[in-house]
C-alpha cells in the first residue's frame, strides 16, 4: 500500500487483561509505515489512537526513572514485565513489523 509515496503495511493488535480494559477494545487494525518497529507501535501508533489514555498507557508499559522514560543504548524504550508476541512468538521492541503481523500485548500473567 502507498500513501503519498510512503509504503504502508497493515498489522493487527490484540490486548489482554488490564490493557484491554484500559483501551476498551480487544483487537484493532493499524496501517503503519513500512519499517516501523514494535516499539513504534507501542510508543506512537497505539497511544496516538487512544489519546485519552495515552499517558497511562505509556506509564503502564514502559520503565521510568525519576519521571524519565528509560532507553536502551539503541534508543528503544524499556518494557516493564510485559510481553509482546508477534504471530505467536516472543518479540523484541526493536523488531520490524511486516504486513499482516498479529501483535499480542500481554500484561504479567495471573492464572490459577
Amino acid at each position: 500500500m502507498s500513501e503519498n509515496g510512503i509504503c504502508k503495511i497493515t498489522v493487527k493488535t490484540r490486548y489482554f487483561g488490564k490493557l484491554r480494559e484500559l483501551l476498551g477494545v480487544k483487537n484493532e487494525t493499524y496501517v503503519i509505515e513500512k519499517g516501523a518497529a514494535v516499539a513504534d507501535l507501542l510508543q506512537i501508533y497505539i497511544p496516538n489512537k487512544h489519546l485519552n489514555v495515552s499517558k497511562i498507557w505509556r506509564e503502564t508499559l514502559f520503565r521510568t526513572l525519576k519521571g524519565e522514560y528509560l532507553q536502551e543504548k539503541n534508543g528503544t524504550p524499556v518494557l516493564k514485565n510485559y510481553l509482546v508476541i508477534v504471530n505467536g512468538k516472543s518479540a523484541q521492541l526493536k523488531d520490524c513489523l511486516r504486513e499482516g503481523d498479529e501483535i499480542a500485548i500481554m500484561p504479567p500473567f495471573g492464572g490459577g
Binding site: K18, A104, M106, F109, G111
Partner: protein, 138 residues
C-alpha cells in the same frame, strides 16, 4: 494428554477415569483442584474473571507437560482452566498427573501448577465488594 482452556470444566470424575484408562502402567493419579477463595485480605470476594490467549495458553501447557514427562517420567497429564466469570467456591483449574509411583506424580503436579501461574497467558481480575483488582503472579 488433554488440555482445555474453557468456560466450563469437564466433570473431574470423568477426567480421572479417562486418564486411568490411558495406560496400564499407571500406579498413581495426583490431582490439584484450584477453588475461588471468598476473601482478599479483609475484603469479601464476589467473583473472579478470567481471560486467556487460548491457543498460546494450550501450546504452553503442552510444552510444560512434555517437559515434566522428560524430567520426572510421568505417564500423562490433564490440565483444564476456566475462562470467564467464576464465583466463590467454584473450581478454577484441574491438574491431574498420572505416574507409575506417587513421588514423581507429586513433584510433577507441584511444578505444573507453579509454571501455569507464571508462564501461561491467562489473566485474572478479582472482583470484591469494594473494587476490582488485576492479579499479577510476579
Amino acid at each position: 494428554m488433554k488440555i482445555g482452556i474453557k468456560q466450563k470444566l469437564d466433570h473431574l470424575g470423568s477426567l480421572i477415569e479417562e486418564l486411568r484408562k490411558s495406560s496400564t502402567e499407571i500406579g498413581a493419579i495426583t490431582i490439584f483442584v484450584g477453588v475461588v477463595r471468598g476473601t482478599r485480605g479483609n475484603e469479601k470476594v464476589v467473583r473472579l474473571e478470567y481471560e486467556a490467549h487460548e491457543s498460546l495458553a494450550s501450546e504452553t501447557i503442552e510444552k510444560i507437560i512434555n517437559e515434566q514427562k522428560t524430567k520426572y517420567g510421568i505417564i500423562d497429564a490433564v490440565v483444564e482452566h476456566r475462562t470467564g466469570s467464576v464465583t466463590v467456591g467454584e473450581d478454577i483449574m484441574y491438574v491431574l498427573v498420572a505416574s507409575k509411583h506417587r513421588r514423581e506424580g507429586h513433584l510433577a503436579l507441584s511444578e505444573i501448577v507453579e509454571r501455569i501461574k507464571f508462564e501461561v497467558p491467562i489473566w485474572k481480575k478479582e472482583i470484591t465488594e469494594k473494587d476490582g483488582y488485576w492479579v499479577e503472579n510476579v
